[in-house]
């Protein structure tokens, strides 16, 4: 079994060939899909629980508190206990609610999450689907989560939920543009939409360092728009606790609420992953020019750790946003997008195209 922590290509190839020897091509594909599915569900749950814990600890750190510290060392079992509580909680049926859509909404949000998770390269060779239109696919799929939110707000038969859902609709549709355009800037720079190619192109230097100022601007805009797209503070208008109690998921209880809650965290993880992959070199180690010794040490760290490290760094930044800033108002939110981010982004795309055209990049 050729297992290599630095390059999973041979390992996945080995699984593939040994399965093919054992059964027909059709069943091979089915088995592989099943394995990937189970792995993703496990990954989803673990990352979700860890992020909830991390959020509490970061928030406690900002607010002069200790955070969870009773259950297990440093309170690491607190989120697991909370999850068990949510699993056993009663699912309260809502009067006059549209039952079908009400039950469907959380699943749409979750499914969208899984669809995006599959397209992200976690390490060399650890990549469920490697499209040649990877970025396009991610942009297209991730904007579908708004359907789940809108359905949740509409079907709950609650006025707060409806306002929250409408806000969220306006917000996600607007900020989708900025996310898309800032990614397109980098696509122009990389010359490819395939994520594995984009990561490979960053072997000699991460795009945020290579791509001059436009890449940096794109990164900043992406982080802002990404935060807005995940409905997190200071853009958490869809939930807006002090105005709309809990926004679009006011009426949800038990595990369905947990789905929305987890989906929010996984969304943040996805946004951070894409930022790490496209701007910060994905699983590529950090290299400095000709420092052989330093580069050797950096290479020693497994790619998966590099990927997680960068992702969690971005998540940490996004979390600090939430716990530092007050919330924007809906019109200010849309003004920020349509009057500032979008024009800057468009100019940025032009500048980037010009730089690539003239061959000025490294």
């Amino acid at each position: 079994m050729p297992f290599d922590i630095y390059d999973f290509t041979s390992f996945t190839k080995w699984i593939d060939t040994s399965l093919e020897n054992a059964m027909s091509p059709f069943w091979t594909t089915v088995t592989e899909m099943a394995i990937a599915g189970v792995l993703f569900i496990l990954f989803y749950a673990v990352v979700g629980l860890f992020l909830v814990y991390a959020e509490r600890k970061v928030c406690a750190f900002v607010q002069n508190r200790l955070g969870p510290n009773r259950l297990g060392p440093y309170g690491i079992f607190q989120t697991i206990a909370d999850l068990i509580k949510l699993l056993f909680k009663e699912l309260i049926p809502i009067k006059n609610a549209d039952r079908f859509l009400f039950n469907l909404a959380p699943y749409i949000v979750i499914i969208v999450n899984f669809m995006v998770l599959g397209a992200i390269p976690y390490a060399k060779g650890l990549h469920a689907i490697d499209f040649n239109i990877g970025i396009f696919y991610i942009i297209a799929v991730s904007s579908m989560s708004v359907i789940g939110v809108l359905l949740a707000g509409w079907s709950s038969n609650n006025k707060y939920s409806l306002i929250g859902a409408m806000r969220s609709g306006a917000q996600i549709v607007s900020y989708e543009l900025s996310v898309g355009l800032s990614l397109i800037t980098m696509v122009i720079f990389a010359g490819s939409m395939q994520l594995s190619v984009i990561v490979e192109a960053q072997r000699t230097g991460w795009f945020i360092f290579k791509g001059h100022i436009p890449a940096f601007i794109a990164f900043v805009i992406y982080i802002i728009a990404g935060t807005a797209e995940t409905n997190r503070g200071p853009f958490d208008l869809a939930e807006a606790e002090s105005e709309l109690t809990a926004g679009y998921h006011t009426e949800y209880s038990g595990i369905k609420f947990a789905f929305f809650y987890l989906a929010e965290f996984i969304n943040m993880f996805i946004v951070a992953s894409i930022a790490a992959t496209i701007f910060l070199g994905g699983w590529m180690p950090f290299h400095i020019g000709t420092w052989e010794g330093f580069n050797r040490i950096m290479d020693f760290v497994p790619p998966f750790i590099w990927y997680l490290g960068k992702t969690f760094f971005v998540i940490w930044v996004i979390m600090l946003f939430k716990w530092t800033f007050p919330r924007l108002r809906i019109d200010q939110l849309l003004t920020l997008e349509w009057k500032y981010l979008l024009p800057i982004n468009l100019v940025n795309v032009l500048i980037m195209a010009f730089i690539v055209l003239m061959g000025w990049h490294f």
């Binding site: 928030c59 900002v62 607010q63 002069n64 508190r65 006025k159 707060y160 306002i163 503070g233 200071p234 958490d236 208008l237 807006a240 606790e241 002090s242 105005e243 109690t245 716990w323 530092t324 800033f325 007050p326 919330r327 924007l328 108002r329 809906i330 019109d331 200010q332």
Partner: protein, 374 residues
């Protein structure tokens, strides 16, 4: 058919009516606002009060004067000490008792500490209303120190019941002076932190500047007192205009602005915390020696007549009106509470603003619901 549909859907029927409260995170208590919306815009707000009405004024008619004091804690629970003081001052005025200097200084000190902790909680919860949840913990962290001082001297943290007719219940704790000085030192250091996290924040400016402006004329017409009134330029500080206790011997500025929007209502409170610290610093080192209370008769009977005393609570002007028929029980007691008067302006302020602004305006008026309902 089409025309008929148009007729039916008039503007009025497009109103989207939601109930904010009685259980809602940003009403800070049991208060119900019936809000008519058109999209995100607020057309009308109708406050429904009385969810926490306990009939305090009526209850006062069957209680003796020392007992009434403990009821007033439960009105504006954040200015508990100042409410107590108001009743005591009214009773003392009626009996024409000479109050020792020490009592006056102690009362002033406690009042200003009360004001600081009240404004701290305002700052904390206003930040949270606008979505900055970290503010809440910063505010509570510093408020805790004041509450500890209260606990040491009075035994109570929020509902202190420290006053009694003729003085205060018991002498200051020996640690009082030291702890107050520690607190002032600490608070002078952390107040700039407050400014960093909220006052100078761009998003906060966007949310509050120019939101719910209240011109001076209207502030006077609606009887808006306290920091909310002073933000509009209404010079209404009872401590300045009609000094009671030891306010005539301290120097402090009345915080006045002219803009009268949510931001300046907020700023007025933050500045008042600084003024309160100045007052405390002037008094803390010269607390006169002497008795902490005058000996009063066991049964206090007010001479027949009408007595009125007003004081400045953290939220505005509190008036206590007592009619006595010479008995040990008052004939009628009326409290002019600042929050009740301030609430009347809410509908006027929020019209035409968005639902998020409603929360910003409601928060900036700094309501304590039990004080409205009594």
């Amino acid at each position: 058919m089409e025309e008929k549909a148009k007729d039916i859907i008039t503007d009025e029927q497009q109103e989207y009516i939601i109930n904010i409260g009685p259980q809602h995170p940003s009403t800070h208590g049991v208060m119900r606002l019936v809000v008519s919306l058109k999209g995100e815009f607020v057309l009308n707000v109708e406050p429904h009060i009385g969810y926490i009405h306990r009939g305090i004024e009526k209850m006062c008619e069957s209680l003796t004067y020392p007992q009434i004091i403990h009821l007033t804690d439960r009105m504006d629970y954040l200015s508990a000490h100042i409410n107590n003081e108001a009743v005591c001052l009214a009773v003392e005025k009626a009996l024409e008792v000479d109050i020792p200097d020490r009592v006056k200084v102690i009362r002033t000190l406690m009042s200003e500490l009360t004001r600081i902790q009240s404004h701290e909680l305002f700052w904390a919860s206003y930040g949270m209303d606008l979505g900055g949840q970290t503010c809440y913990f910063y505010g509570l962290r510093d408020r805790e120190m004041v509450l500890d001082i209260f606990e040491e001297t009075t035994g109570g943290r929020m509902i202190v019941s420290y006053n009694c007719p003729g003085g205060v219940m018991y002498d200051l704790h020996p640690n009082f002076r030291k702890r107050v000085k520690e607190f002032i030192k600490h608070f002078r250091k952390v107040l700039p932190e407050y400014d960093d996290i909220l006052t100078n924040n761009v998003i906060f400016h966007g949310r509050t500047v120019g939101i719910g402006p209240l011109p001076l004329k209207e502030a006077i017409a609606y009887g808006i007192t306290g920091p909310s009134g002073r933000a509009s330029g209404f010079s209404c500080d009872v401590r300045k205009h009609e000094p009671y206790s030891a306010y005539d011997r301290v120097k402090f500025n009345e915080v006045l602005f002219t803009e009268g929007d949510s931001y300046h209502r907020y700023l007025a409170r933050v500045e008042e915390m600084r003024e309160s610290m100045d007052i405390i610093e002037q008094l803390i080192d010269n607390i006169p020696e002497g008795p902490y209370a005058v000996k009063m008769k066991p049964v206090i009977k007010l001479p027949e007549g009408e007595y009125y005393q007003r004081v400045e609570t953290a939220r505005g002007e509190l008036g206590v009106f007592i009619i006595s028929d010479g008995n040990k029980l008052p004939y009628r007691v009326k409290f002019r509470t600042p929050n009740f008067a301030n609430l009347s302006v809410l509908n006027h302020l929020v019209k035409g603003f968005k639902i998020a602004d409603l929360i910003a305006i409601f928060g900036s008026l700094d309501f304590v619901i039990p004080d409205i309902d009594r």
